[in-house]
Symmetry: C2
Subunit: 547 residues, 2 copies
């Protein structure tokens, strides 16, 4: 490697090269390491051979009450035929080394219209003894899914033989919300790309796909009631998600224990809602020229009628009980538009807001919450943090923290939001769309030490800390589409996944975690996913190839 000296300071190249490990040294290498690290794991210091690809290394037996469960049948097939034993011969039969895993789920199978939701139980116990059968027990099917992923990670291949680590595991997530944000407005993401990220989330035990579906640049969602929105707002008629595609993604996610949380971001960031006449405020610059509008007009009654109908549809389409209502970055727009629009100014004066655009924003949000009350009573509302900063959102709403350029600012926001009794979700330190050269998963400043950022690292009472639901790693779409999103997300988002799942006391040191993460990345690669190298020179037994 030749590196311009400015980047090295006084370091020699030699030093630089040695900072990188060429893959974990043999003593540090993991075989059957688990990512994210389980809460409790007792390795039995024993790995047993379970056969070759010509024998049948593993048999999974579903307990009677889940024997016919769509989710488990699908997952069993995925692991056995696709990921865990991709070389298994169809004609293979059990032999003396075949490992039997029995899976029992206390609560049985969810109904086909039951989706994973906040409160889903992801706890499981897995036992792989030195001899005899392995067992996986969970209260709910979601826990069984997490346990099956763990089970699959205990298996490793060496010289054409499958081995499994013997271990006793009791595991559950530290946080209930462990998410990835995708943004399908700045660049369109084909459904195939979204499905692949869902697969990868499951392999990292993440459970919330935050779908920032529309924004300024495009409106790819095809609304049944308001088809004009995508007709006028999508990049092209090809860059859309029709009803069938959306349903397919939601069901695809359900089979993997993943929630699909839609975000409908208003009143700003609405530039692409051109298909609804009168919805956007007329905007002009301070010098009077008309400029493209990016904010709705909160003064018009018809707009609330439209929103009520639009949200009715959204609530029909998305079963997820968290509803993200956006609300970020309104202040800039008010300067640019609301303040310049004579009719809106008149409206503000009429309502006694005077020059206070924040009061108008408050007005908008209280109207929005009023219209949602009858139709969304079973949903929890999430807002980006500005809505908390400038308004008093409904007490039961959840605040999504994205600002904070320093650890201190982040901690202050968390303290403030939870002190007010709101639950919180953190994203500030996990803006994975920002890229940095080097091993940014563990070092590199506010947006480059994803592994170390802890959502409970703020001054507050235990009760406040308990209000933190988790975190969401964001992959804003300005610079990513189907060509690069997968490699840019993984395994950088895996660092976030471990922080949100595992015991912080057991995952204090990124350098100790690296051998496990290396194995995990290579496992994702072996399963056909483009998880990129993030820690310097290394190799995987199977490198990624186009199929």
């Amino acid at each position: 490697m030749l590196i311009p000296l400015i980047l090295l300071g006084i370091l020699s190249l030699q030093t630089f090269s040695q900072e990188f490990l060429t893959a974990p040294p043999p003593g540090l290498r993991t075989d059957g390491g688990i990512w994210p690290l389980p809460q409790q794991i007792q390795y039995l210091n024993h790995s047993r051979s379970i056969g070759t690809r010509r024998s049948r290394p593993i048999q999974i037996i579903l307990d009677e009450n889940v024997n016919d469960c769509d989710i488990l049948k699908f997952t069993k097939k995925t692991y056995l035929r696709k990921w865990l034993l991709p070389f298994e011969d169809e004609a293979s039969t059990n032999d003396s080394t075949t490992l039997f895993l029995t899976v029992s789920v206390k609560d049985g199978c969810p109904k086909s219209n039951d989706f994973p939701q906040q409160g889903m139980d992801e706890k499981y116990s897995l036992s792989v003894p030195k001899e005899g059968n392995a067992t996986l027990e969970a209260k709910e099917v979601w826990g069984a899914l997490r346990g099956l992923e763990t089970f699959s990670q205990l298996v490793f291949l060496e010289d054409e033989t499958y081995y499994i680590q013997s271990a006793n595991i009791h595991d559950f997530p530290r946080f209930s919300v462990r998410g990835i944000l995708i943004d399908t407005s700045r660049h369109y993401l084909p459904a195939q790309t979204i499905r692949r990220q869902i697969d990868l989330m499951a392999q990292n035990k993440m459970n919330v796909l935050h779908w920032h579906i529309v924004d300024i640049e495009s409106f790819p969602y095809i609304s049944k009631r308001f088809p004009n929105l995508s007709e006028k707002g999508a990049f092209t008629p090809r860059h859309v998600y029709d009803s069938k595609t959306v349903q397919n993604i939601i069901h695809y996610a359900r089979l993997r224990g993943i929630r699909v949380m839609i975000e409908i971001d208003t009143p700003g960031h609405t530039g692409s809602w051109k298909g609804q006449p009168g919805f956007l405020a007329d905007c002009s610059s301070p010098t009077g020229e008309k400029i493209p509008s990016n904010i709705l007009d909160p003064t018009k009654k018809e707009n609330y009628k439209f929103l009520a109908e639009f949200f009715t549809e959204i609530l029909e389409v998305f079963p997820e009980k968290f509803l993200h209502l956006g609300g970020d970055e309104v202040e800039y727009w008010t300067e640019a538009c609301w303040r310049q629009n004579p009719e809106i100014r008149r409206f503000m004066k009429l309502h006694g807001f005077q020059d206070n655009v924040t009061a108008l924003e408050d007005y908008y949000f209280s109207k929005l919450q009023q219209l949602l009350a009858p139709i969304a009573s079973e949903r929890r509302q999430i807002f980006w943090q500005e809505v908390f900063d400038v308004n008093v959102p409904e007490p039961n709403s959840i605040i999504h923290i994205w600002k904070g350029s320093t650890k201190t600012e982040r901690a202050e926001s968390l303290a403030k939001v939870t002190a007010a009794g709101h639950q919180a979700i953190l994203s500030s330190c996990w803006y994975l769309n920002y890229i940095h050269y080097g091993d940014d998963w563990k070092s590199g400043g506010i947006n480059g030490d994803y592994y170390y950022c802890d959502p409970q690292d703020f001054n507050g009472t235990d009760a406040q800390k308990a209000l933190v639901l988790g975190g969401i790693a964001t992959m804003w779409g300005e610079m990513v589409d189907s060509t690069n999103i997968e490699a840019r997300l993984w395994p950088r988002a895996s660092a976030v996944a471990e922080r949100l799942w595992s015991n912080p006391l057991a995952t204090k040191n990124a350098d100790e975690a690296w051998p496990r993460l290396h194995e995990h990345r290579c496992r994702m690669v072996a399963r056909g996913f483009r998880a990129q190298p993030i820690n310097g020179p290394s190799f995987c037994h199977n490198e990624w190839l186009l199929p």
Copy 2:
């Protein structure tokens, strides 16, 4: 997009969002734009319909003397069946709108053992009149390849109909060396991945694949004479290039008019040459502990005998007449190793070098050049710039400039090297392995304004400027493998390609170039390559999908 304020300074998000274009506005959009920009192009302000996928839009007729030319037959097939008209119906027939392109090559077809070399003639003339047949004329087949790529770029699809822009083009490259460096030591790149980059290079009219094949971390090259080198030095027996694979890559590149320039980097960066006993110097730290060696022992006669045999093989395998001999970053190693090794110290004293390790380095390079003289008389030697800085390399050798953290330093190096009469190749400003958030192809400092860096931008005579052969964009391998190299290279390397091919006076403005680059990226995507978005929100008619 939500952006922590630290990154924005005092900018509002709004301003930030508007910095990005959501794809070129209609007036700026190009249809049939060409990248890199031809030297002379006269558009006839006319695009003609040449049929649908069910008719046969294009017929390519090869002139009599090249009718049977392997290179042109292959290229014709690639464009017609794979890239240009991928939807063409096999059963389609000519009709009244079919465009005929006749291709004539004055010098006929190269022999099957003729490879593109320095001096290859890439000039071509292409005429697509408003009516009647199109013609492509070139002196050598390499020019015809460039012309066919240009021809393919004049074609565009709209509403299921193919159109072509009418134009008269006379084109040739500004620089003779327009390259990409790949590094297969820090991460292994499967042959498939290398072949895909060669395809993309051809689509960007680049012509030199600089293959940095071995380095500290691994030795993937299987030497016939010294199989121990890869047996001991490769990551695993799967992470290697056997003779057949190397030949396949060289021939794959030849069919696309691309030279494969091997680099064998000595005396430093040789840590993986463990398979040749005694080759590496014994190294110890100043406090006496033995440390891994990364530098050869230049005092042993046997090492020169070995190098002579090894290079004999390399010269048999690689027909390319430029031979890159590395030579970078020796100074650090000498401190760490040569100076600490008692026998090497004794040798230096004996030869009157005293404490001067540079003198020992000189000694090594003069011995290397002596041993190469009889076997490599037809090859031109290339060295990284340190060899020029500390030694007096053979006057005919080419200096590869990679240092220079500022434009001034870069210019000084270019001036110094060319003042000494050496030809030069520049890489300093094109370290594409370094990544930055945002549109780094056009802005972002020394390693982030690839489009603007000009290899002739230094104080020197015309004769000095004429010594600049071109540039090589480097993709050092620490952070890339087959999962991410393609998206990370393209279209960022396309910016370099235009700088090295086109007239600088016609390509002064990246913002003006952007619509053409956008079309070019989408063309690469439509052909099945993972060229990533680099300029903010946008879309391509066909987004990238896994096959």
